[in-house]
Subunit: 324 residues, 2 copies
């Protein structure tokens, strides 16, 4: 390994994995992308990243169809969809050697714990990307706005966390530190639950309608407030002294969303494309945690139930009333 060059496997090259892996590859790291849908397109034309921070193309990135061909690396960044969690262990394992560390860049509460059980807790990190990003035509990623990644280590090892921070920053990625992983997970859910939820429950709508329509905006805010309540109850029960400030969260999240344009959430894009939705990772686990903790979450329950129905309906797994 050359000094300063790190080998990184991107397991799951969707928009998130492609974008952050692309930034790290551009910075000179040895990045190896596992990809499916875009494999042939990227082999032919490279990986094309369009970003307000500057467009760039990786003309000959190292792309792989099988994790076995990637081999052991210094870092695995697992950016699979939460709906592919059952495949994660098999896809990550071939890339894990004795020194390998793993950054889990997926939606879901308690997902790092799952990786900790599989691979040992001391090597597992979690990351939450606050980024507006979509896949375009095969081989093209549209980065629209933001990009900060909140990171944490599963055992809160500050020294190890600092290494990950330096790695990401070497790619020009903005890194935020959170009081702890759990806090960062909840912070992300504060946005994901209302906006991913309503974008699907509304039948595939963008964020602009949600923030501009009075009743939808009120519903989004109410959902966010409920998530903060669950988050704080959860953090308290886990012994964390960190708390989310509900008014500050609402103010900040809406400020960002108001200036986001008409963003299409990842869940809405999955919905209109008929792909399985991350409904349990984003909504279901928060709803179940709220039930365990006895925190009332009527709006979360409504969104969870309706997004679940939308997921099943879109994939033909429940019957709807036929048109006349």
């Amino acid at each position: 390994m050359l000094a300063g060059v790190t080998s990184i496997a991107i397991i799951g090259t969707g928009a998130v994995g492609g974008y952050y892996g692309g930034l790290l590859a551009r910075a000179g790291h040895d990045v190896r992308f596992l990809m499916r849908r875009d494999l042939e397109a990227v082999r032919e034309r490279g990986l094309d990243i369009r970003s307000p921070g500057g467009d760039f193309v990786l003309s000959r990135p190292a792309v792989f169809a099988a994790a076995e061909d990637i081999g052991a690396v210094d870092w695995v960044i697992c950016s699979l969809k939460a709906t592919a969690l059952s495949e994660a262990r098999a896809l990550v394992s071939p890339c894990v050697g004795p020194q390998t560390r793993i950054l889990v860049l997926m939606n879901g509460l308690g997902i790092e714990e799952q990786f900790g059980e599989w691979f040992g807790r001391s090597r597992v990190f979690g990351g939450m990307a606050f980024v507006c990003i979509n896949r375009g035509e095969p081989g093209v990623i549209h980065h629209l706005d933001y990009g900060r990644v909140s990171i944490g280590h599963l055992e809160d090892d500050a020294a190890q966390l600092r290494e990950l921070q330096l790695l990401l920053e070497s790619g020009g990625i903005e890194v935020a530190s959170s009081p702890n992983l759990r806090y960062a997970r909840w912070e992300k859910l504060c946005w994901n639950i209302p906006f991913n939820g309503l974008s699907v429950a509304g039948g595939g709508i963008g964020t602009r309608l949600i923030v501009e329509d009075e009743a939808l905006r009120q519903t989004a805010e109410q959902a966010m407030r409920e998530v903060v309540s669950v988050a704080n109850a959860d953090l308290a029960e886990l012994g964390s002294r960190s708390r989310l400030d509900v008014d500050e969260v609402v103010r900040w999240m809406f400020l960002q969303t108001d200036s986001m344009g008409d963003y299409r959430t990842s869940m809405a894009l999955d919905y209109v494309a008929g792909r399985p939705l991350e409904v349990e990772a984003i909504l279901g686990e928060a709803w179940r945690r709220a039930k365990q903790l006895g925190v009332p979450t009527p709006t979360l329950a409504a969104l969870y139930s309706l997004v679940r129905v939308a997921d099943l309906r879109r994939r033909g797994l429940i019957q709807t009333i036929p048109t006349e």
Copy 2:
């Protein structure tokens, strides 16, 4: 007018108007139906009512394409969709003579007050039908279950109300008396808001999924509890001593719905057919009343916002994210 025979104009012969008008015609009353969609079919083949209480056909009912041809009657039963409220005055007026009384059998809070302004308060009655009923092919009405009508007089005139009760009972219709009209309206909304709302927000689903899925059922119950809160605040402000008992309402409404089979709500049928939804009459007015009264209704707000979006989306009035 023959003794005991009453002339009745049914303004808006959908499922509700056709069913109750059919029962009254079968009992020998002079019932005159205003209809659009089914006019030719009924002229050719009669009005065919299929009911667990006994199928029957009115082979030559008096059907009209224009209210002007109906003339003044003893009773008008206005069973238009709430979305046709703007046409109601013009359609009802030609049938109103000095002695005519009007039963408003439509969804909506405050709708009798509107009729009272148009035609004078002393002649206006409101009715809420608790009935599972769908239109079938043209000229056919499928009555599935229930059928009770709660009635009230706009000025709470008990003697006049008794006359209406006797008229309806002469057709074999079960009549319930409510403490007052407003109470009856709210009682109906306790079912309509959760079940019509979720059946549309879920993308056109029947009642069975709503009562059998844990999260959907919880959402339906929460919405119902919120409606009861608004109802009681509203009744209190209007000086009524009547109150809905929240646990009793929940118990009773779910008991009935659990035994209903997989009922398709009128709003879900309108939704899948692309017709305008009664979203303001059923959800919007309750939501606005809750806001005025300062009653928190997160689930109602979520359902209202999502049903509104579904209505606009289904009719092509808002853009959704295109499929890839």
